[in-house]
């Protein structure tokens, strides 16, 4: 479904990502692991369309999307949960959700809203509350919900557990399980690489922009043995 072929991304003279290459099918989860500055976010942002790769191409369902702008990618079903959530704190929960699905036709909006509220009943209770007044966990749920409003086929999640309590992190992974069961491909970046690797099917270990290791998540050298068992 999603083919990323040898993409290289640069910020001016600095190459942030060299030759990343992978394929992802619906329902598969790819974990991107590595230290800060490894190129994880660069890879995520290049798939979302905010960074145009210098070489290589990105293909979604047979269509080359390498050079199309972010809003067109969003309408093709690439959803993004950005690092730090980036909600609109002065808009209500419902308004945040509506802006998230803005590129799709309005006719399906109430249906999509309902779908999000089914997954996150807590958001339904807080629909008219300002996003800035939610707890950290609820905000992360809203960030997920906002991306789900796009009816995503590929979901990009940058730093899923940053600044969240363990119980909320467990909830986040439960949502990911739900996405996986709906045949959505997920690309996941997590500071807590053990949790991400234990959950994912595939993994890419990046270091200073290079792919250091790539393969099945359960074989990743970064994964602690205790979690595998």
């Amino acid at each position: 479904m999603l083919d990323v072929n040898n993409i290289t991304c640069r910020y001016g003279p600095v190459t942030a990502l060299h030759d990343a290459d992978f394929t992802l099918e619906g329902g598969e989860v790819l974990a991107l692991v590595g230290t800060n500055g490894a190129g994880k976010s660069t890879l995520v942002m290049s798939i979302a369309g905010h960074i145009i790769p210098e070489h290589g191409n990105i293909v979604l369902d047979g269509e080359d999307i390498t050079n199309i702008p972010p809003y067109q990618r969003a309408s093709r079903g690439i959803g993004l949960v950005p690092e730090g959530r980036r909600l609109f704190p002065d808009l209500t929960v419902k308004e945040n959700l509506i802006t998230g699905g803005y590129v799709l036709p309005r006719t399906s909006e109430s249906q999509r809203l309902e779908h999000v509220f089914e997954i996150f009943p807590r958001l339904y209770e807080r629909a008219n509350q300002l996003a800035g007044s939610l707890s950290g966990g609820e905000q992360q749920m809203l960030a997920f919900g906002r991306a789900i409003m796009l009816r995503p086929r590929v979901m990009l999640i940058d730093e899923i557990s940053l600044g969240l309590m363990p119980s909320v992190i467990i909830e986040c992974y439960a949502v990911l399980e739900n996405l996986r069961s709906q045949n959505i491909a997920v690309i996941l970046v997590d500071q807590n690489s053990d949790a991400a690797l234990a959950f994912a099917d595939k993994a890419i270990w990046l270091e200073t922009g290079y792919v250091k290791w790539q393969g099945k998540a359960k074989h990743c050298p970064l994964l602690k043995e205790s979690i595998v068992s």
Partner: protein, 281 residues
């Protein structure tokens, strides 16, 4: 009676002009310090056309189209800059406009255009036209605010980077706001030219741009009713208190300061405060 009619027409033109900036600054978060240039473009377009024999009503569309088209170019060029830099860029537009007008003999140069024909229907006709157009523009603004597009404008005004990250085509909406806002200023300009019947480069300078921005800020950025009230008050104030006319800028500056200090959300924010108080008691 004639005097009251002039004051009322001035007030309506000020409201229309302030709302057109509110669309750009309030709805879309783009500060403009050169909005008077578009008032001027509308005024010059309309004045030239009525002097050549066209009725005022027929000049509204050309005034809007020309102001909106130039607004499109300014908007497209301004997409590259934001915040303070956008303010400086738009300020440049204001100086560029007066600078160019001063050198155009065809447009009266330094002397401006005098003897602009009186509008059909006289003062009453102009008052009614101003009333209808201002109401119409406010209705369009309310429609945009309540429509689906209103959500997107809110999100762009709040944080345009995030809006673009979640897949909103921010440039398209910013340009739309620029075109509609500058066209609205052009329309206000057409009315203004026939209200004062003499226009010159100094009528559309930096001071006028600051004045209209202060109306939007005192009214509450993005608040339709707040800006309407602020524009109405601030436009009649110098006329009722002739004595402060010379100190108009000082008073506007002070109001801006007071608004930022005590009413950061402007008059529009006051209703919110009242509502909150009521909710708590």
């Amino acid at each position: 009676m004639a005097y009251e009619m002039i004051v009322l027409t001035n007030m309506l033109i000020a409201i229309l002009f302030a709302q057109s900036l509110n669309l750009i600054t309030g709805f879309c978060g783009q500060v403009s310090l050169g909005h008077a240039a578009f008032l001027g473009i509308g005024a010059y377009t309309s004045a030239m056309l009525t002097k050549s024999g066209l009725p005022l009503v027929a000049t509204f569309i050309p005034a809007m189209v020309i102001a909106g088209t130039i607004g499109l170019f300014v908007g497209a060029a301004s997409l590259r800059v934001r915040h303070d830099f956008l303010a400086i860029t738009t300020m440049g537009v204001s100086f560029l406009f007066t600078g160019i007008i001063r050198k155009q003999d065809m447009l009266g140069g330094e002397m401006g255009i005098a003897g602009i024909p009186s509008p059909e229907g006289g003062r009453v006709g102009l008052l009614l036209m101003a009333l209808c157009l201002t109401i119409l523009f406010i209705i369009v603004m309310i429609y945009i605010k309540r429509s689906w597009m209103g959500y997107v404008f809110d999100s762009i005004a709040e944080d345009e980077d995030t809006a673009s990250i979640i897949g909103i085509d921010v440039r398209r909406f910013k340009l739309f706001a620029f075109i509609l806002g500058t066209a609205g200023a052009g329309l206000a300009g057409a009315l203004y030219a026939h209200q004062v019947r003499f226009i010159g480069p100094d009528s559309f300078g930096f001071v006028e741009s600051v004045t209209v921005l202060s109306m939007v800020i005192v009214g509450g950025i993005g608040s339709i009713w707040g800006v309407t009230i602020a524009a109405a008050l601030l436009s009649v104030m110098p006329q009722f208190f002739q004595v402060i006319d010379d100190y108009k800028l000082l008073v506007y500056g002070m109001l801006l300061f007071l608004a930022m200090r005590f009413l950061p959300e402007g008059l529009g924010g006051l209703t919110k405060t009242f509502r909150k108080d009521r909710g708590q008691t």
